[in-house]
Symmetry: C2
Subunit: 104 residues, 2 copies
């Protein structure tokens, strides 16, 4: 039985000086995992991501298939992204990184 | 000036016994980077990915926004994936992992 997801949430956990892990992204990753599980959102997969070069505005979170980059993601905005974007379908515009996009 | 990509290639480089890095995925990652650069495919971004649980059939490569998982990816099939799928638009069906998909 294949696992079919609606969204993949990619949290940059790249290590090194000034990279996302040094800015608390591991806590962001864990919070996404915990809050997605708490809501039984089985159609959302949360995965770690390597560096996309956006750590100056990190922690970085990328959501596909939307192809959107979020910037400066802290644990306290994770629930807002889940409820407004992943469940509600409306990206949280004020947190979008305008520099990067995958359009397909 | 925003960077707008057509595709994001995510190569699992997860470490640990039996995980993708132990199966040569770092070479796959580097080959994707090198071959994409050699072709001046500036609309393709190649990034490292964390574990999605598919290492039994790894190395794993995920391509978005298509939401497709490739399995058992070795350096010698990288050019085929680039030319047939990323440039030509036709996924390499024999390498697709049927267990995982992001549909959007």
């Amino acid at each position: 039985m294949p696992r079919v997801f609606r969204k993949q949430v990619l949290v940059c956990t790249s290590e090194g000086e000034g990279k996302c892990a040094s800015k608390g992204s591991l806590e962001v990753f864990q919070k996404f995992r915990d809050e997605v599980k708490a809501r039984n959102l089985a159609d959302i997969i949360v995965t770690k991501l390597g560096c996309t070069g956006q750590h100056p505005t990190g922690p970085t979170v990328v959501i596909h298939p939307d192809g959107l980059w979020y910037q400066r993601v802290t644990p306290d905005v994770v629930v807002e992204i889940i409820e407004q974007h992943l469940v509600g379908g409306k990206p949280v515009e004020r947190l979008i990184n305008p520099e990067m996009k995958v359009t397909g």
